[in-house]
């Protein structure tokens, strides 16, 4: 284990379940869903019926001219990261070369790109906004965070689909452990609920249709009736700091980030691979130097696809063995949907709930567990527990990129 340990000292959230870390946790405790029917225009333009969209008012957070020059994904990123920095109390006005930004996003500025394409292909008009490139580029959100706060340390943007922001957190942890930085703002953002991108996802036939009885219950991970994933949008950001430095300044230490596992299936572009996931799970446990039974909660990737949930369940059983029976596992995607590039960071935030409040977030709407997913579920409602020693968050992405994070109680 590295001598430089990494503390989580601040969190910020912009999500379908609320726009602060506390609101997000409160919604998970109450199993309050963020999934709903998409607007008729979006649904008609894409064929996709449900999503976890944020009721977002840019002018509540930015001046009008400023908001117009920031893609929605960057707006989410700026708000979540500002919350995290404020909560941490980190002074970003000094030693800026020692503070960096590692960010994750799947698609970058999808709204900006779509607007430009509509102009070119739809209206036959080649004149598009000059800021299109810098608003749409994949690293725009993270760069905006660095620019806003003047953070001059290491910078990277990870685009590994659904593991992007989990990787940003894991690599930010490494940057601090290795001494390349003393503090990092790490997280991810995604905003792609626009017709062109949704239509592409629809074509993959992995999205759930609206549950006819209750649209909010359309995403059913680990349930026999599961029908696919529901896309969401938002951002989650964390301030990570070298522990002794954080303690010395009296920072609020929420948890320690102690384990990071990273592997590639290297088998298929979209079909998950049990062995690849096992490698990432074991690597994270080894990194944290923890035995499987030290983990008291797993926030599963759990997208609610027919294959994915079974493969993940098998991987967890293979790694945790006999301890699986007592290991609570849930997929909070049932409530907030799949935030893709931002999912890993948001779900890392969900995994901190048992550590911080002694509450297991549920897999909402899980009425009929699939026997092929042999896990100790947290069905339908949150459960109170004694805070465990450690928790885990899984992110298994298209392209075969697997990231597992482990956090420990302070």
């Amino acid at each position: 284990m590295s001598e430089r340990r990494v503390a989580v000292t601040g969190a910020g959230v912009v999500s379908p379940l609320g726009c602060s870390f506390d609101e997000f946790h409160a919604a998970l405790c109450e199993a309050r869903p963020g999934i709903r029917r998409l607007s008729p225009d979006t649904a008609q333009g894409s064929g996709v019926q449900v999503g976890a969209a944020i009721d977002w008012q840019p002018t509540a957070h930015f001046k009008e001219g400023e908001a117009a020059n920031l893609d929605r994904a960057s707006q989410f990123a700026l708000v979540a990261s500002a919350q995290a920095i404020a909560a941490s109390g980190l002074d970003v006005s000094t030693e800026r070369e020692r503070i960096g930004v590692y960010w994750g996003t799947g698609l970058g500025g999808a709204t900006t790109l779509e607007t430009a394409y509509k102009q070119v292909y739809g209206a036959g008009e080649w004149r598009v906004r000059p800021l299109t490139v810098v608003m749409a580029m994949n690293n725009a959100a993270g760069s905006n965070v660095a620019v806003r706060h003047g953070l001059r340390g290491p910078f990277a943007n990870f685009a590994t689909a659904c593991s992007s922001s989990a990787m940003a957190l894991g690599e930010a942890m490494r940057a601090i452990q290795s001494g390349r930085a003393d503090a990092m703002v790490a997280g991810g953002s995604e905003a792609l609920l626009v017709p062109g991108t949704l239509a592409a996802w629809h074509a993959l036939r992995t999205l759930a249709a609206a549950d006819p009885a209750n649209a909010a219950a359309s995403c059913k991970p680990f349930d026999k009736r599961r029908a696919g994933l529901v896309l969401g949008e938002g951002s989650a950001a964390f301030v990570l700091e070298e522990e002794s430095r954080a303690r010395a300044r009296g920072a609020p230490v929420l948890a320690l980030l102690t384990g990071y596992g990273n592997s590639c299936d290297a088998t298929h572009m979209s079909r998950p691979d049990r062995d690849g996931q096992i490698r990432a799970l074991r690597a994270a446990l080894d990194d944290a130097a923890l035995a499987p039974d030290a983990i008291g909660y797993v926030n599963a990737h759990g997208t609610a696809t027919s294959v994915g949930d079974v493969v993940e369940s098998e991987a967890i059983n293979a790694v945790f063995g006999a301890a699986t029976e007592a290991l609570p596992v849930s997929s909070t995607k049932s409530l907030h949907g799949h935030l893709l590039g931002s999912a890993g960071a948001l779900e890392f935030g969900a995994a901190l709930l048992p550590l911080l409040r002694g509450v297991l977030p549920p897999t909402a709407f899980l009425d009929q567990p699939d026997p092929a997913c042999k896990l100790r579920h947290v069905p339908k409602a949150a459960q109170e527990i004694a805070p465990p020693r450690a928790v885990m968050s899984n992110s298994f992405a298209f392209g075969g990129s697997n990231v597992v994070l482990v956090a420990e109680r302070v």
Binding site: E64, G65, R127, R129, P130, L131, V134
Partner: protein, 81 residues
């Protein structure tokens, strides 16, 4: 509203500046308008007035007053003013 005031109005919205305090003779960088922001602003000016300012002319624009002259010339040659 005359051309200069329309430009000042657009600039105040784009850059969140007080229109009354915008000195048309001040260099753009002194107003806090960098080159990238200016290119984006020009796009909106062209939309607003329905004119096109060439890349060559753009390079010579250092102030809002310069911009007004170019827009006025473009409007005149298009028969719009």
């Amino acid at each position: 509203m005359d051309t200069l005031n329309r430009i000042k109005d657009l600039a105040s919205k784009e850059f969140s500046l007080d229109a009354g305090a915008l000195d048309p003779a001040a260099p753009l960088d002194k107003l806090g308008i960098d080159s990238l922001s200016f290119i984006e602003f020009m796009f909106k000016v062209e939309e607003e007035f329905g004119v096109s300012v060439s890349d060559e002319d753009l390079k010579g624009i250092r102030t809002l007053a310069d911009l007004e002259r170019h827009v006025a010339t473009a409007l005149a040659s298009a028969g719009k003013a």
